[in-house]
């Protein structure tokens, strides 16, 4: 129960036995935590990019915002969560590097502001699936580690420059 399970880049994991799931050193990636507080099941995805755009990601659904949210919901429902009782919290999506100035004109490149676009992509998918977003710590230019207690939905957010806070 006190074991912390790490969810690495592009991975996702679910728990129905009050486990704690963690993503360490989130930068532009976003940790997406979805849970049913009544049934005490929860899952965490470490999302790297906003849109799968048809890329085959059957084996790594956690990589993209669109595939991660819907797959997480399906797996939680399979574990006994109520589809209508789900809640979501997100953290991450920062911009670690300023885009070098001589590339500014080319900032339309698909990876500019990727953190913000990851957050947008996740929110779009949450709206589509009608899952309320009840906590958010996103943006800025710093890294974050999150620890998600799947039985309560509580998240501890840690960063080097801003210390520890809870979501």
């Amino acid at each position: 129960m006190s074991d912390v399970v790490s969810v690495g880049v592009a991975e996702m994991k679910v728990s129905d036995d009050s486990g704690t799931l963690a993503s360490y050193g989130l930068g532009s990636c976003v940790g997406v935590a979805i849970y049913d507080p009544l049934r005490k099941v929860g899952g965490l995805a470490h999302v790297m990019l906003p849109d799968s755009r048809g890329i085959d990601c059957e084996e790594t659904p956690g990589k993209f915002a669109d595939t991660a949210v819907s797959r997480l919901v399906d797996e939680l429902v399979e574990l006994g969560a109520r589809r209508t009782g789900l809640r979501c919290k997100i953290a991450g999506g920062s911009q670690m590097f300023e885009i070098p100035s001589n590339n500014q004109r080319k900032a339309k490149s698909p990876h500019a502001h990727i953190g913000a676009r990851n957050v947008e992509g996740i929110k779009r998918e949450l709206e589509r699936l009608r899952i309320p977003l009840v906590g958010e710590d996103t943006g800025g230019n710093h890294g974050r580690t999150i620890k998600f207690d799947t039985s309560t939905g509580d998240i501890e957010v840690k960063s080097i420059y801003h210390g520890i806070s809870s979501l």
């Binding site: 050193g25 670690m96 974050r144």
Partner: protein, 208 residues
């Protein structure tokens, strides 16, 4: 997508050839660094490997280790990303060595940041120049971006650039240290998978 886009198709010989190219690049970069700081530089044997995405943030001792990362995107015939990673204490020591040898304002973080960006430009430039001479290919680095934060957060930037349609990244890594100064760092080149045909052909290990 070009041939070789799927990482499983790279052979051990091809990976060895990339490591050897990295060795030559790193050798040149260490000469440049040695001239800048007036010390001997120790270099590790370079590693080239295909890593699953989730293991990349472990590269510098763990995803939460505080590091300085100086990042450049590389364009040209063999696009990729190049990253200088230094543990925080090493970054500060190296910056102060650089500053001390050129002017007299040490201790200011903004000055350290620009000293490290400059150092990284020179190291990466030396590295890419020798790859260019070796292969006859054109490598053009962007201006550097700087961050001092958790290693995982910094390395995610590289993944975003390198791995949209891949579940692995290719990494050519050399660790270095400055003798007697407790300064350790990594210079890491991440050539984009999917556009490796040109460099592998020039290195004499083309895709079949």
């Amino acid at each position: 997508m070009a041939r070789g886009g799927k990482s499983g198709e790279l052979s051990a010989r091809q990976i060895d050839a990339l490591a050897e190219a990295g060795n030559i690049g790193a050798g040149n970069a260490s000469i440049a660094l040695s001239q800048m700081v007036g010390k001997k530089i120790g270099l590790s044997v370079p590693r080239a490997s295909l890593l699953p995405l989730a293991s990349v943030p472990e590269l510098a001792g763990g995803p939460e280790v505080p590091v300085a990362g100086i990042y450049m995107r590389v364009k040209g015939d063999c696009p990729g990303s190049i990253l200088l990673l230094l543990e925080r204490e090493s970054a500060i020591s190296l910056a102060d060595m650089m500053i001390a040898s050129s002017m007299s304002v040490a201790g200011d973080m903004a000055v350290r940041k620009s000293a490290l960006e400059e150092t990284s430009s020179i190291l990466s430039g030396a590295y890419l120049n020798s790859l260019g001479e070796l292969t006859g290919l054109f490598f053009k680095p962007s201006v550097p971006g700087f961050a001092m934060d958790m290693a995982g957060a910094i390395l995610e930037q590289v993944l975003v650039d390198a791995a949209e349609s891949e579940d692995h990244v290719l990494m050519v890594e050399t660790a270095f240290e400055i003798s007697g100064q407790l300064i350790h760092g990594h210079l890491v080149f991440f050539p984009d998978l999917g556009t490796l045909d040109a460099i592998l052909e020039r290195l004499g290990v083309p895709f079949e």
